[in-house]
């Protein structure tokens, strides 16, 4: 910009800084709150059962969380754009079987992982194209692809099964071992998490995802390549579901045509509990990861404090409703505060 009209006029200290801090705090607190709930829950369980946070216990917690965290990170990217991908469970299942099928024929483990990622990315691209070109609600499109991919999986797999004995031992080892208490799978997941979070924060493509989730029409008018961005989000989401499939194979060694069934709902819960708004435009992948960690930890916590695991689903559901209720209340209060503050600023300015 080259024009200068009036240099000496300085903007007055704005009344907006208060509301900014307020909102910042709320957003940070949103993730802090989940973290706090998680820590309290784990510590309380440890007090009740001192074996809970043993070396093996921590390792199990992390191993259980990794796969869900990976898929939740991808899902969060899609949800930030005000869309959703329900086909992730099916994608995970078919990718896991593809990798297993290839490995049981004597393939290279690294190639198997790449294969799973590529297959997932391809399925994500199909979703992305359908959603961005077809202008059909993502919920319906991906519900369709959920069944289609699951159907193809069943036809291809039939009654076959991949078992741990068919896999190279190094691959299974990768699924179990780690650096002291931290499994390799968790390290890989953490690396992915940090990369995606950084992309969303520091790159135009990432910022555009927030913009188009916040106000799709404004994004279009601002020249954001809406279709390409949505496609990217779906491809990444699919690729991460594929990667999660490969890790699933490494961890459990057992894959059939039903692998990953119903997983999409757990993933969506994790994302929402983690503070990624279903209405798009807000939330972080760190929040989604924390949500996933929280949900999987409950699975481990309940048995170790002697609560029957039949309660797990009910408690997950309760957490989901609680998370949404908290978000709604906070959003209303913030809107109220901002409205009043804006009025004060305005009247102060014209006084």
């Amino acid at each position: 910009m080259t024009v200068t009209t009036d240099q000496e006029h300085r903007a007055r200290p704005a009344g907006g800084s208060g509301s900014r801090k307020l909102l910042d705090t709320v957003l940070k607190v949103r993730e802090l709150a989940i973290g706090a709930v998680l820590v309290v829950m784990l510590l309380a369980t440890q007090l009740d059962n001192s074996d809970f946070l043993s070396q093996q216990g921590i390792k199990d917690l992390l191993l259980n969380a990794t796969i869900l965290v990976l898929v939740a990170v991808g899902q969060a990217m899609v949800v930030i754009t005000r869309n959703v991908d329900l086909s992730v469970g099916s994608t995970l299942g078919i990718s896991a079987f593809a990798a297993g099928d290839y490995l049981s024929g004597g393939g290279n483990p690294l190639v198997a992982v790449v294969l799973a990622v590529l297959l997932g990315a391809a399925l994500g691209a199909v979703n992305g194209l359908l959603v961005s070109l077809g202008r059909v609600p993502a919920l319906v499109v991906t519900l369709g692809t959920l069944y289609i991919i699951r159907g193809l999986d069943s036809v291809w797999v039939g009654s076959r099964q991949i078992t741990a004995s068919q896999l190279p031992s190094g691959f299974a080892g990768f699924g179990h071992d780690g650096l002291s208490v931290i499994p390799y799978l968790a390290l890989l997941t953490a690396a992915v998490l940090v990369c995606v979070a950084y992309y969303l924060r520091a790159y135009r493509g990432g910022r555009d995802l927030y913009a188009l989730g916040s106000n799709p029409e404004a994004a279009r008018l601002a020249g954001v390549p809406v279709r390409r961005r949505i496609l990217t989000a779906y491809v990444v989401c699919g690729a991460l579901a594929g990667l999660a499939g490969a890790l699933y194979l490494a961890r459990f060694g057992n894959v059939d045509s039903g692998t990953g069934t119903g997983y999409e709902l757990t993933v969506v819960s994790a994302v929402v509990v983690g503070g990624v708004a279903f209405t798009g435009g807000s939330g972080t992948v760190y929040g989604a990861a924390l949500g996933a960690l929280l949900l999987t930890s409950i699975n481990s916590v309940l048995p170790s404090i002697g609560v029957s695991s039949v309660w797990v689903q009910a408690i997950d559901g309760f957490l989901l409703l609680l998370a949404i209720a908290v978000d709604r209340v906070v959003a209303l209060r913030v809107a109220d505060l901002l409205r009043k503050r804006a009025a004060e600023t305005r009247s102060a300015r014209h006084a």
Partner: protein, 506 residues
């Protein structure tokens, strides 16, 4: 004045552009030439095609026929990004912000300054936004979220957005509607500086004095067609109004004498925090009360609160002496209140439903027996009102989306008049409808008042308010600034109150 030499081609031009949406011809063979260093005004009534023209320049719409010329060469904008890359900056009438992003990010979406490895330089984004705000002289924090900004502040962010790149063409669609006098003056200072540096400016405003203050040429549209394109020098405001309206104003505003009766609607100290404060007024049977003010002054919000769409924080509303509970539109309807909303497509109609169904949305009580709808009663109710209001339609079963804007508005009116209201609130009743239908709507409102209905008419169309209203209330920034009798209400007195200048005089 810097007048471009005639031989240099215009920076951006439209030649013979037409654009239709379904049966509606938004633009018919319109040409427009924007020269470097010239501020060009676009005049026309609501619905004359100005917004469509702007969106064609901005790459949002592609013309059905005709061409867009950039530096004299035909060019095809495939989307807003193409137009932006060609140096066209647009400030839209409705702010298009991202509520979840910070103000600074809003300004630079898709164009953020970058540092190594293509990463967004958040600090530079903030700094650049702060610089822009300083130049515009506004007190906005780059880091605050866009959510919760007042309309005026949102508009300022839009202006900052448009100024943030070296635009060769700056298009402004009513940028000043929500701004105060000093903010307008500062904006004009920036625009003049840009123009002197060789930018072409296209300016739209309903405040004609602004057109005369800022622009060198003016192009007038009416019903999608080009009426005139001429230098501003030598024109008067009356000339411009005549070109825009295209007929004598008298026949447009038939006003019958009505017997003013008792108080129908009484609003006392109504407050919704941050939106409007301490609003008190009465509307009597047989009276048309105009509610004027600038966009964002809180007029529609008062109407929404009175009708119960939004809750109020304090105050009272009475209809025919009986208090109305807050936040209950169905009770307001039962008390005889009707609200014809501002945005008929989003709030007034279900666009994909038939004319008959739309009219009967308010009629469940009168067309059903024991909870079961009676098709015959529904049909005759719809036919009755469609004919009374002279809605032009092929079949009652047609979707309302197939009707023209004016006929859609008649359907909304029919929907509410069929409830036999004692108090009718109409919000921008003639926005975006053609002149002929406009006169019909005015005649209808006048007739209703003569029949004893209390009418509260919100309108930004000042001549309409002055001609139709028995009394004019003026709002300024959420407060009632003036209550003028028909004799006191003039263009000057209403605008003075609406812009906050009237306070000392009143």
């Amino acid at each position: 004045m810097t007048q471009a030499a005639p031989e240099t081609p215009p920076v951006l031009a439209l030649e013979g552009v037409s654009k239709s949406f379904g049966a509606v011809h938004a633009l018919r063979g319109v040409s427009l030439r924007l020269h470097a260093g010239e501020a060009h005004a676009l005049a026309g009534e609501n619905g004359a095609g100005k917004s469509t023209l702007i969106k064609t320049l901005a790459g949002v719409h592609r013309p059905d026929t005709g061409v867009v010329l950039l530096d004299g060469e035909p060019v095809e904008f495939h989307g807003p990004a193409d137009a932006r890359d060609a140096g066209v900056a647009v400030i839209y009438q409705e702010p298009t912000l991202f509520p979840d992003l910070s103000v600074a990010e809003n300004i630079f979406v898709g164009r953020q300054p970058r540092r190594s490895f293509g990463r967004v330089d958040h600090r530079a984004v903030r700094q650049a936004a702060a610089d822009l705000f300083r130049r515009l002289g506004v007190a906005l924090e780059p880091d605050q979220p866009a959510r919760g900004l007042s309309i005026a502040d949102q508009q300022l962010v839009e202006i900052a957005k448009a100024l943030s790149f070296d635009a060769r063409v700056l298009v402004m669609d009513e940028p000043t509607a929500a701004l105060t006098g000093s903010e307008v003056a500062r904006l004009f200072g920036v625009v003049r500086a840009l123009r002197e540096q060789g930018a072409a400016v296209l300016f739209i405003s309903h405040r004609l004095d602004e057109v005369f203050a800022l622009c060198q040429r003016v192009t007038t549209l009416r019903d999608g067609a080009l009426i005139a394109s001429e230098p501003v020098d030598g024109l008067t405001e009356d000339d411009l109004v005549r070109r825009m309206v295209g007929r004598d104003l008298d026949e447009l505003y038939p006003k019958q004498d009505a017997k003013i009766g008792g108080v129908a609607l009484s609003v006392r100290r109504l407050t919704r925090e941050g939106v409007f404060t301490d609003v008190s007024f009465d509307v009597r049977h047989g009276e048309i009360v105009g509610l004027a003010g600038l966009v964002g002054a809180g007029r529609s919000e008062v109407a929404r609160a009175v009708f119960g769409v939004d809750r109020w924080d304090g105050g009272e509303v009475e209809v025919d002496g009986r208090p109305l509970p807050p936040g209950a539109p169905s009770l307001a309807m039962a008390a005889g209140l009707a609200l014809v909303p501002e945005d008929r497509r989003a709030e007034g109609l279900v666009m994909d439903m038939s004319i008959e169904r739309n009219i009967n949305l308010t009629g469940f009580a009168s067309t059903s027996r024991a909870g079961v709808m009676r098709r015959g009663a529904e049909r005759s109710r719809a036919v009755d009102w469609a004919v009374r209001l002279q809605v032009k339609y092929a079949r009652l079963a047609d979707a309302v989306s197939t009707l023209s804007g004016g006929n859609q508005q008649k359907v909304v009116l029919a929907k509410w008049l069929a409830t036999d209201p004692g108090v009718l609130i109409v919000d921008e009743p003639t926005r975006g409808i053609d002149v002929g239908t406009k006169a019909e709507v005015h005649r209808l409102l006048s007739q209703l008042a003569a029949d004893g209905v209390a009418v509260l008419m919100i309108s930004s169309d000042l001549p309409e308010v002055l001609a139709m209203a028995d009394r004019v209330l003026v709002m300024h920034e959420g407060r009632l600034a003036a209550d003028l009798t028909r004799a006191e209400a003039t263009e000057e007195s209403v605008m003075a109150a609406a812009t906050g200048r009237g306070r000392s005089a009143a």
